[in-house]
Symmetry: C2
DNA sequence: CATCGATATTGATGGAGGTCGATATGAATA
DNA sequence: TATTCATATCGACCTCCATCAATATCGATG
């Protein structure tokens, strides 16, 4: 992942509403009103998120679009509903990059062995 | 970590300037102007960050304060300089929490075994 | 095609925060 | 104590974005 993608993904996660959406998706804590999502899919439709969060429908659509744009969720139209599903690979990628970019490396040059 | 702490840490990371600061700290890429930081410490003083990023000194102080407030860096006054050091534990904590909170769990109730 | 439910888009608003110049604070030294 | 260097704080500006009401779009169904 390039730095900009990491920043975009972090920004997407740093919002309370969007973080909550991903949390309830991950927990499968939504009894979806859409009859085309199986429980094991961990998915939800827009109305589900509206019900759980209390946010307005436009706001929820906006957040889901943001999450999709950065790859944290996947979008799929099923009949009259637009269904959203978590994307675990995006979390993995982000975590890996954070480790590589931000984890302090032992500085091997303490003794001045390298130029 | 509670949710708010996670959000605070994510917000701190989601800014380009602050992410860059942590990156260069982690890489030990700063030849610090402060003579009281050893290379293996991965630390830097405010003026170092100003030189590398081109940001104003007040802005850099502000960002470092933000990073310290959320635990991502540690602050230490050494003589006339204020030195900052990365805190790897904070990265670990964040990553662990992200995994627990956002990684989709297999929904065990597909067969309806649980009420 | 007309209608209806579900979602997306538009436009407007308010608040949060990144940035800088000016200034204050603080530590070391003469 | 006076001075100097390094950093912190203050005040202001400006941009970005979360949010909502209103409206448009879209899929299904009659």
């Amino acid at each position: 992942m390039n730095t900009q993608s990491v920043l975009d993904r972090l920004s997407a996660l740093a919002d309370k509403s969007r973080f909550t959406i991903l949390q309830i998706m991950a927990k499968g804590a939504i009894g979806t009103c859409c009859d085309r999502i199986e429980a094991y899919e961990n998915g939800c439709c827009v109305a589900d998120v509206v019900a759980v969060t209390g946010l307005s429908q436009p706001t929820v659509s906006h957040h889901l679009k943001t999450l999709e744009k950065v790859g944290l969720v996947r979008k799929e139209v099923r009949g009259p509903w637009t269904c959203y599903f978590p994307n675990p690979e995006a979390i993995d990628e982000l975590i890996s990059t954070l480790r590589v970019e931000l984890y302090p490396s032992e500085n091997c040059n303490e003794g001045g062995c390298c130029p």
